[in-house]
Subunit: 417 residues, 2 copies
């Protein structure tokens, strides 16, 4: 694919109009939407109205008149169709880590102390494993981490309480088969908890179709809700009301404004709310979800997924063809890959410095240390063009062949400890 081919593909792309919905800096190829999604153009005005009119002018009345109090459910309802859940089942609240804590405790409670082992991947995003460590500690259980997904089935035995996975791995972009792993876990008597941080808005997710048990996810990656935007949480309806989640804040109470001293969980997903919702942050997410309404009209998840696969396949093909020595560290089978491609460079090349040199050339990916150290590139289908793929590979080729990643300004300062 040369640049002309890419331009032709962009011209034919049914999602191409969506790029104009985003405010992207001139001359930048932004391939880091898997870390922080770009700013939707409508967001600043939506925030301004929320802040100046609803907060500044209408003040406390806005909890009712502007629907602030319903925002966690309202935004949850808008995320629901993108993850295979129904209206009323999803809540926007807190951070992914905090929500994972809630559902992991709920899941272990459901096992009633009969099973206490949580199975996950060593390469899961660290916060997931840290939270799981804390939860198993509280339940007297154990966290068992596998080095490759192929080791999971053998651990799904009568000790396994929960299989906790991130659907798309943050390092490699490898995507699990949610329906299959959920079925295997449940056949063994375990529950399946899914982190959709790198899935929501980028790849098809069918929580109800997979009969998953619990899910959490992030809204500031492919959903473009803004830095540190609130996360979401889902519990299968069969589990709602069965157990207490431990973060028993007042807005998860059945009657929060009755101000009674005893906690009584709200029915349904509402009990997963804890404190007062962050309204300004939610305003940003709300306008980001407006873009998905338009995406729905332009072909919905089928179009998003098709474009994501096309972009990542084109990137992999170009890397193979033009960058000898650079290894693709993501699955080559598109069905096993999210909307991200990770690369490694030969061991005598400093991956960190390469990423910095690329950023200096206007191509923004990111670096994740580890074995091997990775260059990560996220291809957000809503605003990434085929020409971005061509330009990114071309820039990477320049950086490697020129050796300008060796410049002192691109070197890592100090050691990550």
């Amino acid at each position: 694919m040369n640049r002309q081919d890419a331009e032709l593909l962009d011209a034919q792309d049914p999602l191409a109009p969506l790029r104009a919905f985003f405010s992207l800096p001139e001359g930048v190829v932004y391939l880091d939407g898997n870390s922080l999604g770009a700013l939707p153009k409508a967001t600043p005005e939506h925030i301004r109205r929320t802040v100046e009119q609803e907060w500044g002018h209408d003040l406390i009345a806005s909890w009712n008149t502007a629907g602030w109090i319903d925002a966690p459910r309202r935004l949850g309802d808008r995320i629901a169709p993108w993850i295979g859940a129904r209206s009323g089942e999803v809540l926007v609240a807190d951070s992914t880590s905090v929500n994972l804590y809630k559902v992991m405790h709920a899941a272990l409670q459901l096992q009633q102390g009969q099973r206490k082992v949580v199975v996950s991947e060593r390469s899961n995003f660290p916060t997931d494993n840290y939270i799981a460590q804390s939860v198993v500690r509280a339940h007297g259980g154990e966290l068992v981490l596998v080095d490759t997904p192929e080791d999971i089935p053998a651990l799904l035995d009568d000790r396994c309480a929960v299989l906790m996975l991130t659907h798309v791995n943050y390092r490699t972009g490898r995507m699990h088969d949610m329906a299959l792993l959920t079925r295997w876990a449940q056949q063994a008597g375990a529950l399946a908890v899914w982190d959709l941080a790198h899935s929501a808005g980028a790849v098809p997710v069918d929580l109800l179709g997979s009969a998953a048990d619990f899910a959490v996810g992030c809204s500031y990656k492919y959903l473009n809700g803004g830095p540190g935007a609130p996360a979401f949480v889902w519990a299968h309806p069969r589990h709602q009301g069965q157990v207490w989640q431990p973060l028993t804040g007042w807005l998860g109470h059945a009657a929060p404004f009755a101000f009674t001293p005893d906690y009584r969980p709200a029915p349904g997903i509402q009990q997963y709310q804890c404190g007062t919702p962050p309204i300004v942050a939610m305003a940003a997410l709300e306008s980001a979800l407006d873009v998905f309404d338009t995406a729905q009209q332009l072909g919905g998840m089928a179009a998003i997924r098709a474009k994501s696969v096309a972009l990542t396949e084109a990137f992999i093909a170009a890397v193979d063809a033009e960058l000898p020595g650079v290894q693709v560290q993501s699955p080559r089978a598109s069905a096993q890959r999210g909307s991200q491609v990770s690369l490694s460079v030969p061991s005598d090349v400093d991956a960190y410095a390469v990423v910095q040199a690329l950023i200096a050339r206007g191509v923004v990916g990111d670096f994740r240390d580890g074995d091997p150290p990775l260059l990560r590139f996220g291809f957000t289908p809503l605003y990434t063009r085929h020409t971005d793929v061509v330009d990114a590979v071309s820039a990477l080729k320049d950086v490697l062949s020129s050796g300008d990643w060796r410049a002192p300004g691109f070197q890592r300062k100090g050691k990550v400890t």
Copy 2:
């Protein structure tokens, strides 16, 4: 105090210039800053810059270049002097409820299972008691609630693990003696955990001087951080690093960017961070704290407290003089009162409807059900005038004498369940 007296007092008020820092709607007497603080005028522009420049243009680089990653500590450092803590000891993160959960678990862990009773007030803000219920459940303990603060000392025995109090009661505005109760608790071998939701920015707080053990608080009341703004958490340095708090997210890790699979808590207050900080919400709080820098120059907490006492004393005096049958439900001794005054009306008057009729006249307080039902009025010293006191009492007198609170539009729809 007539309106002329009030105008004279406003003219002499050293904090009077601060009102111009806030965007308050014309013709409104806003006495609900104890629920939602008013919008600082600089906040919309500060948010706009954060959103358009830092997020929209600089994207992921802003985690470093705009100091996003340090925001929880940077904002904590700016709150610290207002609560008697030192730089490096306070973290802005999550909600008050979530932070209370962290410190209550930490406190019970410090008691090593030797003591499991948590003592609090039945009239504490419900989320505090709900969170405590959850925590004692996890530790096999018990939550004991007193009906009056006078019953606390008898419960500080060798079973008491934690005395958990909100410094200023959300219903009555009663303010506890933090130093005295902390000392009594600690003399009995218990720990003292303080919720500063209704204190921070409004009344003097001296956590280190009181040798308190843990504290949490809210930034959207007297600190004016915006609806659902992130909360803060403090642990006495002697407790930092002694125990795990259970919400072990990646940003509380000693080396979050090393991405290691095992959790290792960061030293100091940093371990109380969990997930990714909500940057847009933090931008709002940051500009709200700028106003406190000016308040510091105009006399600091001494001036804030003096004005708060003057406003609440004037309000109580006017109620006593002009509103027969209306009872002051807040302590009359200023030393025992926060920056709030709660009233009750005769039982044949509907307190809810009175609040609605007052709001219709441009005087915004709020209603809290209970026994008795309360009319709450918060006097934020940064933007409340003495004339507001006069106008509020005058409006309340009109509402009661005219009986127009009986109008159908002011009645409560349905029952709070």
